[in-house]
């Protein structure tokens, strides 16, 4: 045993082991939240919408996490209402990425006009996201559509600028010059010849974008702006139960822990991905 352990490990193997160890914990964190959000609705012991007891009963016996402001079972609500925190950012990140990638490629293809548009984009990026969220969130009809718009407005300019900085160099590359000489349009070249080279860095950036989108979505839920459903997501549950924090802290801490776990897990995974390349 001791003989086996003292055998020196090659540097490459040690690095690989370290990376893998770094991946286990964040993967478990994300997987736990995905599991709760996915299976939870079917595992809830009580009806998440039904008032079962008085408000803010602390955790005991039948109610493992106590009850909320309307006497509903917190455990059942946490299990049933986890999926919006995952699904809404996921869908809106994909939409925002599509808009951002198309926008960024057009900016590169149309060089002259692109530069002026980027100056405008830089100004848009300087506006605090919370300001965008509050103003847009209250003006748009509440719901999933509003969040989709807000996330796209906040995220797409980042992606567009990122794509532009990545793609700009490729327009000097040999294979693009060949297409240019053959008479292809710059827009067509951007999508057909340049885009396939950008997938890897774009996928890496998607992690950051997801965290940003999740931040927007949960902040919206917490502020009660553009809420999805009638307070049926972890962030809105926190706001609704804040008044009973002293009576049943679990009603606030449980959904907050779910959000924190997901955010930290995704960010740690993104960090490992960045460190690997």
């Amino acid at each position: 045993m001791s003989e086996f352990a003292s055998e020196p490990m090659s540097l490459g193997r040690r690095v690989r082991l370290r990376l893998r160890r770094g991946l286990v914990l964040p993967s478990v964190m994300v997987a736990a939240v995905v599991l709760v959000a996915g299976v939870g609705p079917f595992a809830a012991p009580h009806d998440p919408r039904e008032s079962m007891a008085v408000a803010f009963v602390p955790p005991r016996g039948e109610f493992l996490l106590g009850t909320d402001q309307l006497g509903r079972d917190v455990l059942s609500r946490v299990l049933s209402h986890g999926w919006p925190v995952l699904v809404v950012p996921l869908v809106s990140v994909v939409v925002a990425a599509l808009v951002g990638v198309c926008g960024g490629l057009l900016l590169v293809a149309r060089r002259g006009r692109g530069r002026r548009v980027v100056q405008v984009l830089d100004m848009v990026l300087a506006i605090p996201p919370m300001l965008t969220l509050i103003v847009l969130g209250y003006v748009l009809p509440p719901g999933f559509g509003a969040l989709l718009v807000v996330v796209t407005v906040i995220n797409a300019p980042f992606t567009a600028r990122f794509v532009r900085s990545l793609a700009d160099g490729y327009f000097d590359a040999g294979f693009v010059e060949v297409s240019l000489v053959e008479g292809d349009g710059r827009v067509a070249i951007a999508f057909r010849e340049v885009l396939p080279n950008l997938w890897v860095p774009l996928l890496g950036d998607l992690g950051n974008r997801f965290v940003a989108a999740m931040y927007v979505v949960v902040s919206a839920g917490f502020l009660g702006v553009a809420a999805i459903g009638d307070g049926a997501d972890w962030a809105s549950m926190i706001t609704d139960s804040l008044g009973g924090l002293a009576l049943n802290p679990a009603a606030v801490i449980a959904p907050a822990a779910g959000i924190g776990l997901l955010a930290v897990g995704v960010n740690l995974l993104g960090d490992q991905w960045a460190a690997r390349r």
């Binding site: 100004m123 506006i127 605090p128 919370m130 917490f222």
Partner: protein
């Protein structure tokens, strides 16, 4: 620094602020509900709505009202709130002051967490302390403010009972009478912003420490403190100042969620109340103020970066 650069920067700033106010104005015009419907609520009849709208002056053409508003702002008059009729300046002053106090205290926290922590982590990059600090910072900046705030409340208010969970302003209206209400909100902001600054500063200092001339100084037998203060930090000061200044807009504008969580009556909470009541002039004034702080913060960071960098000072 050439005057042309500063002037161009100023021009862009004014244009951006005009753009932001136009967009916010148009959005609020397009909103399905306005101040009159919000004020009357379920009692709204078409006649009463029309009456109230003409009383508030919101029945006149949009472009005319925007120009009047912009003209007023240029001469320092932000108009009156639609909801209460009180002058905007009077409504905004106290909350703006409270937000500034909170941001100022949080800024001190950012200096400690971000700058001191970042220098410590970066000076011995990939050491044990660096790995602990960097991971902690990544966790700190990953979580939404309200999750961190709730964690702090759970520990310091509910469990240890050391600090208040709600930041109620004392009846005297003086924050100095109950300074403890500022601690948890300020720490929450400082953790998020400080974590961000820590990672930036760590990178700057780590890059400086790896430079050949610094390595040579170390091989000459110069002590670690002297290497840090005489060889690494002088050239790192510029980028560090830029990173720290760029965080100020976040502390002011990003405080909305923290103010809401702790019930702290600052600018962010006022903005939410104003948007909820479709109080157009009040929303416009707060948005203008917050955007101005943001844009000026970034502009200041930009100018400082040029001042601190001899190469860019000469070539821009």
């Amino acid at each position: 620094m050439p005057a042309g650069f500063v002037l161009a920067r100023l021009g862009v700033t004014v244009l951006l602020l005009c753009g932001v106010t136009v967009v916010v104005f148009v959005l609020m015009e397009a909103a399905p509900r306005d101040a009159a419907t919000q004020f009357l609520g379920v009692k709204a009849t078409p006649e009463r709505l029309a009456e109230l709208r003409s009383e508030l002056g919101v029945d006149r053409p949009s472009w005319l009202r925007y120009l009047e508003w912009a003209g007023g702002v240029v001469s320092g008059d932000f108009g009156a709130s639609l909801a209460s009729g009180r002058p905007i300046g009077e409504l905004v002053a106290a909350p703006a002051g409270r937000t500034a106090v909170l941001a100022g205290i949080a800024f001190l926290g950012v200096l400690v967490i971000g700058v001191v922590g970042g220098i410590r982590a970066g000076y011995r990059a990939s050491g044990r302390v660096d790995r602990a600090l960097s991971t902690a910072a990544l966790i700190g900046l990953s979580m939404p403010e309200f999750v961190i705030g709730i964690g702090l409340i759970a520990v310091f208010a509910l469990w240890l009972r050391m600090l208040p969970a709600v930041s109620l302003i004392p009846s005297s209206g003086q924050l100095s009478d109950r300074p403890e209400i500022l601690v948890l909100p300020a720490v929450t902001l400082a953790v998020v912003a400080g974590s961000y600054v820590l990672r930036l500063v760590r990178g700057i200092v780590a890059a400086g420490t790896a430079r050949p001339d610094v390595e040579a100084a170390r091989l000459d037998g110069i002590g670690p403190a002297r290497v840090l203060f005489a060889h690494v930090l002088p050239s790192a000061v510029g980028p560090i100042v830029t990173a720290v200044v760029a965080v100020v807009p976040y502390l002011v504008g990003g405080a909305v969620v923290v103010e809401q969580l702790f019930g702290y009556p600052g600018l962010g909470r006022l903005l939410i109340t104003a948007v909820d009541g479709r109080d157009q002039p009040l929303v416009m004034a707060i948005v203008l103020l917050l955007s101005a702080v943001t844009v000026l913060g970034y502009a200041a960071a930009d100018v400082l970066a040029r001042v601190a960098d001899p190469y860019r000072r000469r070539h821009s």
